[in-house]
Symmetry: C2
Subunit: 424 residues, 2 copies
């Protein structure tokens, strides 16, 4: 294997502290590189990911840690003193025991991993927190990203706390809540006339330009670090289940990165002896209006054909998902599936989750719960197996999805007679 | 002292389990009553509150509890097995070390207690969780409330999870996010043509009518139980500071209940030997457009003159605050103060907190941070003392307050030239 030096300078390398991370490694050809702000293999153009030498770690050590993702810091590419630095300290969100929803779907044991409890109310706080440490390590002064909305808010908030500049890029037609959230923390919010894929391409250009010098694009040149943040979802689910893997899990797919990292996290827990080895099935969920991975799965293809998104699930509206092929692999290998639901089914699922469990999900949560419901109705998941479904965002950011249906039953004068008349 | 029986039936009394709570006690005359769905003293019309016989409890026992308010269940009017019941399990929100904001305000040590991390993103989840247990104890089938918005969402969500019906009442002119959130969880949302005080009066009528039979109005007939939930803010702040009381704390005032209960919580911790006794100053914060308590404080009065609210801080817009006189007492007794800020100062403070700490507060958080800023600028708080400021809600619910100012810096085509032109 090649051990080539990335674009990091010797001065930078000297001060790097990524904890247990020891190298970047190509997911395709296995080539290894020094830790640096690189994301693609120079030999085969495959994606780079973090290679570790993990210390011995026990359940007790983890449980004694803080109530956030840093309880797993010895399994993440961050320095041991990350807890002392100003960051958003995301994670350790609730694993909600969803007995009411389980009953409606005919399942025996169901939990909702509710990441709306994160500081900016989406799972993106997890990945950004790792990217911030990478940006500090590499001496970057500006944090940036292409975003479908949630990420932009997570980046600008984290940059504010960390004392970094921020410049973030979104499609100009996003929900108002996401636009406000992406700009209220300061930094520079730039709307792009185009889709998320246009925004993404633009950021790739910017990174090669002097305009983007010393910028950490969390989901481009910091992507190998950033993506590891999603492993913490796997760690938390297992720990919150009592150090046990679920039998079945339903995960949303935008780029597909989160799903691959949850699978990686489960495998690490087994390898480290923190949970017992057992089979688990991973189900991937997309919106019909942006379902390139689901389409490939159903057609039996290995290659993803890009689509132009048209769905209310904007946080999943990535028409050309980078990790799509890996999602197909994992769904097939674990005995899961990839499925999609319509916008109407998404809205129904949001309301179902809200009225059964008091969890108000973003459209992405409507996608996972909708797919779970579909799989259960069609007998494609085991009703007796321990099941987890992810809600990765917050209904307050996608109000329009339900605003037509979520209204007062009546507006009345403040009198008993008026109440009687309205509801008699 | 009178020990009279409230309207509870013997059958109800037999099955009641309120943990360490032993009676209701009049705050004014000290008359004691059996635990029941009562809220006013029949002797003097004073408000009733919970009287306890606390068990011996240690820091270690509490720390071994769950990461939510039930870690303090032995200090709350709930059964010991409350953790096994379906509820929202709120609390244990972040105490954010706010070094950036402290620097801007010239303070040495500042923390933000950020209750936007609760399940429905406001502190109301705390109080409602206690009310749900009271409703279960009393055999009520419907959970209800008058609300300025946050409470309605907290009640309908909690009712959904607990399997209770819900019927909640709000002023019809609330923010869209709060209306959606109050109806998405199911139950019945009723808009009232009028102010919060009109809604409140209507609920008091309803409770005396057969229409409201077997209804638990969390902030009326369940108020003594409900209000105790705010004590958990005091417990958490002290525990998160390392079992130490802060020197100074800034708390928002709507009805004033939360402030009085935080003071009660601090005093209980001292009495139980869980923290060292020391003086602390409580500062109360209102919006200028609804500042009856601040006005009375400044005028040196003991009586609150009701006002008609006119402020963007709708969650604090209670013109006739029931616990206003107690707030005056506490601010004066502890050496604190009551202060108010304009709507413009509220917006500025929301943006200040967001850009320094990555915390996006509701207008109520703008009120507390704005008042803190004013007190600091005027030299009325000790810049070297340990200070805590509360954010009780979420900026996503009051987007309009900042929407004009939180916008993209530019909207451009996805090209480097366009970026250069926009930001050259």
């Amino acid at each position: 294997m090649a051990l080539t030096t990335a674009e990091t300078t010797p001065a930078l390398v000297r001060d790097l502290d990524f904890g247990p991370a020891v190298a970047l490694s190509c997911r395709e050809c296995g080539a290894r590189y020094d830790l640096g702000p690189s994301f693609a293999c120079t030999e085969c153009f495959g994606p780079l990911e973090i290679a570790y030498e993990f210390p011995k770690v026990t359940r007790e050590q983890i449980a004694a840690g803080p109530a956030n993702i840093w309880r797993y810091r010895s399994l993440l590419p961050v320095p041991a003193d990350v807890t002392d630095k100003p960051n958003m300290a995301p994670g350790w969100t609730k694993l909600v025991k969803a007995d009411n929803l389980a009953r409606e779907l005919g399942l025996r044991s169901l939990h909702v991993k509710d990441d709306s409890g994160n500081p900016t109310h989406s799972f993106k706080d997890r990945v950004v927190a790792i990217a911030v440490e990478a940006a500090r390590n590499f001496g970057f002064h500006t944090l940036s990203c292409s975003s479908t909305g949630n990420l932009a808010g997570a980046v600008t908030a984290a940059a504010a706390r960390a004392g970094l500049d921020a410049c973030v890029f979104i499609p100009a037609d996003l929900e108002q809540a996401k636009i406000v959230m992406a700009s209220v923390y300061g930094g520079r919010l730039v709307g792009i006339d185009g889709t998320y894929d246009d925004v993404n391409r633009f950021c790739s250009e910017l990174i090669g330009d002097e305009l983007g010098d010393k910028w950490g694009f969390v989901n481009v040149n910091l992507r190998p670090y950033y993506a590891e943040g999603s492993k913490t979802l796997a760690y938390e689910i297992a720990e919150q289940l009592g150090w046990r893997l679920p039998d079945q899990i339903v995960i949303p797919v935008a780029s597909g990165s989160q799903l691959t990292k949850i699978d990686k996290g489960f495998k690490e827990l087994i390898a480290l002896g923190l949970v017992e080895e057992k089979p688990y099935k991973i189900f991937a969920a997309q919106a019909e209006g942006c379902s390139p991975v689901s389409s490939a799965y159903k057609a039996g293809h290995d290659v993803i054909r890009p689509v132009k998104p048209d769905t209310i699930a904007k946080s999943l509206a990535i028409g050309n998902p980078a990790d799509g092929p890996y999602v197909l692999d994992i769904a097939r290998r674990t005995g899961g599936a990839v499925e999609d639901v319509t916008d109407a089914e998404i809205v129904e699922a949001i309301r179902l989750l809200a009225r059964t469990e008091g969890v108000f999900a973003e459209t992405a949560g409507g996608v996972t719960v909708g797919v779970l419901r579909k799989l259960a109705a069609e007998g494609r998941i085991d009703p007796d197996a321990e099941t987890v479904v992810l809600n990765t965002g917050d209904g307050l950011k996608t109000l329009d999805a339900v605003a037509d249906q979520a209204r007062p039953a009546a507006v009345i004068r403040p009198s008993l007679d008026a109440f009687r008349t309205a509801f008699a």
